[in-house]
Amino acid sequence: MKLANLLKGIRLPRPPAAAPPVDLPAPEKVYLPLRQHRGAVAEAKVEPGEQVALGQVVGASEEFESATVQATVSGVVEAIVDTVDPAGQKVPAVVIKNDGADAWAEDSAMGESLTDPAGVKGTRPSHLLRRLREAGLVRAQVEGRPLHVDLSPPMAPQSYLYMTGIPVVRPVDTLIVSAVDADPPVCPNRSCLGQSIQELSVGVAALARISGAKRVILALPSGSDTAAIAAMAGPYEWEIASVSQTSYPFATDNFLVQSLTGREVPTPYGEPKDVGVVLQPMISAMDVGKVLMSGRPVIDRIFSVAGEVKNPQTFRVRLGTPISEVLAAAGGGPSRPGKIIVGGPMMGLAIFDPATPVTRETEGVFVQSAANVVAYADHPCIHCGRCVAACPVNLIPSELGKLCEFRMYEEAAYMDLMNCIECGCCAYVCPAKRPMVHFLRHGKTEVLAGRME
C-alpha cells in the first residue's frame, strides 16, 4: 500500500462480511445472449423447437474476439429474441425452456480432466488456451473480453507505443490473480475466498502456464482469512499480497498492477499486458480451473446482489437467468425501485430492464430504492479543488468538467482528458454535485468522434 494511495482517491465504508455463494435453482427459462463480452456476436447454432442438452453449443463464431455460448439448462429452444445487454445494446438471445432434467450433452466433455497444477504444467499452453476458448470463458467485467483474447500475446505492436519509443512487445512475466473487488459492496470474489481451493489452484496454474508468467501474485483483501489460500500457494511459490478494500479505486486493474509490480500501465489505450502483466479476477481463475477439471463448460456464474434488497447475498446462478429472478431470490428489491446497477455503485451501469439476463460479463448488481437515487445538480463549479485532491490519475477534473460542459473538447483533450479512467472519485467528492463523469465521458466520446472525421 503506497502512501500516495492514502491521500488520493476516496475512502469507502468497509463492506459487510461476505457469505459463501448460495446455489440458486435453475430458472424456468434462460435467455442466452449471443454476445456476452466485447467483440463479435456469435451465430445461433440451434433452431426454435430443437431439444438441447446441458452444455450443448447454441452459439459460436469464427471471429477471434468471440466466445462460444452453451446451453445452461436442458430443454426446448423456444425462440431467438432480442434482449438487451447491461450496456443497453440490443443483442439476439436464445431462449430455452427448462425441462428440469439437467442432462449433459454427450459431447460436452472436452478432453481429459486436469486435477492438479502439476498436470497443468505438463500440458502445452496452446492446448490449454484452446480448451478455454471452447468453453467460451469471458473476463467477468462489463465489456470484458473473452478470456482467450485476454491471455493471448499481443498480435501486433501497438502503434501508439511504437511511436513514443516505449519497448513495444514485452513478454508477460507476471500474473496477478485478484480476489479484491474493485467496487466493494458487490463482492463476488470476496465471497468465494477460501472456496474450491483445488479449482483455484488448477486455474491459477493454467493462467500462469498460458501467459508464460514466472511470478504469480495472489492479491487478497486485507483483513480476510487467507490461511487456506496461503496453504495452497505455498508449494508453488505463489506470492500473496494484501490489498485494502476501502481505498477506492486502488483495487482496479491498472492500480493493482502499479502497486504490486511498480509498473505503470500506459493510458489511455494501454493494458496491463503492455507492461508484461496479466491480471484476472479470482472468479475467472476458478472458472478456468472448473473447465480444466471437469472437462465441461461452465454453466453458472457467481453473482453478487448488494444494496437495498432484503438479504444481500452472493448466488451461484445459471447463465441466462433474468436479473429480476435473482433479485426475487434475494428477498426482493425495494417497494419503489430506483436503480438496478450492474457492477458496483461507483462504476456500474444502471440498467433499464430488470429482465436483463445474467451473462458471463456480469458479476453482480447493486440495487437502490427510488428515495436513494442521487440527484446531480446544475450548479457551477466552485473551484474548491476537492476533485483534484481525489483524482487518482492526477488530472484536474474541475477544469476538464468545465471545458467539456462548454464544448471545448479538444482543449480538454490537451489537458489529458483521455487519461480519465471514469472511476467517479471527482463526482463523489464534488460539493456542488456536478455530474463530473457524465461531462468527461461525453467529452471523450466527442473527442473520438471529432478525430474520426
Binding site: 513514443t164 430506483g338 436503480k339 455503485p345 433499464f352 466552485i382 474548491c384 479543488g385 492526477n394 454535485k433
Partner: protein, 334 residues
C-alpha cells in the same frame, strides 16, 4: 405513467455527503473559535460590527439576485460565510456604516459582478476590505485595547504591535508572546487570537475542506522571510547580534501578529479564489507568507497578509498551470 420505471444515469451512483452548504457551514464552524475570542475581548461594539456585516452582505445578495433575475443563493451559506469573514477583519471601533458598506461591496464588487459563486477571480472579502481601507483609513485603524467582557465600557484606543514594530525594533524583545498568541492585543475583531485561528484551520484541513499546502506554505514562507528580514535589518546590525536577545521571538511574533494566521488558514484557501493543483497551492501559500513579511518590513503599509492573498489570487491561472504528472500518460520520447 408506470411508477416502477427504473432510473438510468451515469456512474457513480452514490455521492459523498459534502455539499456547498455543508462546506461553508464547516467553514463558519471553523471560524467560530477566533470570532468568539474576539467578541470576548472586544465586546459589544465588535458584535454589532460583525452582525451588521453579515446582514448587509445578505441583503445585498438578495438585491443582486433580484437585479440579475437569478434565484437567491443565501441558502448555500456562502454569502453568510463571506460576510462573517469580512466582519472578522474589521476593527472593533469601526463606525456603523463601515460594515454596512463593506458587506455590500463584498457582494456587489467581489461576487455578483463576476457572476456569483465559482466565478470571481479574487477573494471578495479582501476586495471589499481593500476598498474600505483605501477609502477610510482612519476608520479602518480604530483599534481598541482589549478587555475581558463586562470589565467596563471605557474603551481606550491603541496601536497594534505591527505599528509599534515599524517604529521600534525592540518591540520584538518586549512583547509578551503568550498574550499575543491568545489574542490579548489590539487588532481586528477576529484575527487576533492565533491559537483559536490555528484550531479552526487545522479542523478545516482534517475535514479536507482546504488543502494543507496553502497554510503550510504560507507559514513556512513567512518564517523564512521573517528570519531573513530581521537579521538583515540595519537596526539590528547596529545593535549587534549578541545584544539582540529576541532570536526565536522573531518567528513567534511574526506568526502571531497581524493578519497572517487568518490569511493563511481562511482568506487564502477560500475555495473559489485559490488554486487547485498541489504545487500551485503550495506556491500560493509561500507567496502569501513572503508578501506578508516584505510589506511588514519594507512596505509603507502595516501588514501585508491581505495584500499577499490578493496578489496571489491574481497569479491563480498561472499557478493552476503547474499540473502534476498524469499517471500512465505516455510521454513522447521518454
Amino acid at each position: 405513467m408506470n411508477e416502477n420505471l427504473l432510473t438510468v444515469s451515469t456512474s457513480p451512483h452514490i455521492l459523498g455527503r459534502m455539499s456547498v452548504r455543508s462546506m461553508y457551514l464547516e467553514y463558519i464552524i471553523a471560524l467560530a473559535p477566533a470570532l468568539l475570542v474576539g467578541l470576548y475581548y472586544f465586546g459589544f461594539p465588535a458584535l454589532i460590527t460583525v452582525l451588521l456585516t453579515v446582514a448587509s452582505a445578505a441583503v445585498s445578495d438578495f438585491v443582486a439576485s433580484k437585479i440579475q433575475k437569478k434565484p437567491t443563493t443565501l441558502g448555500s451559506l456562502h454569502i453568510v460565510c463571506m460576510g462573517l469573514m469580512l466582519g472578522m477583519i474589521l476593527p472593533p471601533g469601526a463606525p456603523w456604516w463601515l460594515p454596512v458598506i463593506g458587506g455590500a461591496l463584498t457582494v456587489f464588487l467581489g461576487i455578483s459582478i463576476f457572476g456569483g459563486i465559482g466565478a470571481y477571480p479574487m477573494n471578495p472579502v479582501l476586495v471589499a476590505w481593500v476598498a474600505l481601507y483605501i477609502s477610510w483609513p482612519e476608520s479602518m485603524n480604530a483599534y481598541f485595547e482589549p478587555q475581558a467582557l463586562g470589565s467596563g465600557d471605557d474603551w481606550t484606543e491603541a496601536e497594534t504591535l505591527l505599528m509599534q514594530l515599524k517604529g521600534d525594533i525592540s518591540t520584538l524583545e518586549m512583547v509578551e508572546m503568550g498574550k499575543l498568541w491568545l489574542g490579548q492585543v489590539p487588532g481586528y475583531i477576529g484575527s487576533t487570537s492565533t491559537w483559536a485561528l490555528l484550531v479552526g484551520g487545522v479542523y478545516l484541513i482534517i475535514r479536507r475542506i482546504i488543502p494543507w499546502q496553502i497554510p503550510v506554505g504560507a507559514l513556512l514562507g513567512a518564517v523564512a522571510m521573517a528570519l531573513i528580514a530581521t537579521y538583515t535589518d540595519p537596526r539590528i546590525l547596529e545593535l549587534g547580534y549578541e545584544e539582540f536577545a529576541a532570536n526565536m521571538n522573531v518567528v513567534w511574533f511574526h506568526l502571531g501578529a497581524g493578519g497572517l494566521m487568518i490569511a493563511a488558514f481562511f482568506l487564502g484557501p477560500e475555495p473559489v479564489s485559490s488554486p487547485v493543483t498541489p504545487w500551485g497551492t503550495f506556491l500560493f501559500g509561500v507567496g502569501i507568507g513572503l508578501m506578508t513579511i516584505i510589506v511588514r518590513t519594507w512596505g509603507g503599509l502595516v501588514d501585508g497578509a491581505f495584500y499577499g492573498v490578493l496578489l496571489m489570487n491574481a497569479a491563480n491561472p498561472l499557478l493552476d498551470r503547474i499540473r502534476p504528472r498524469v499517471i500512465g500518460k505516455v510521454v513522447s520520447g521518454a
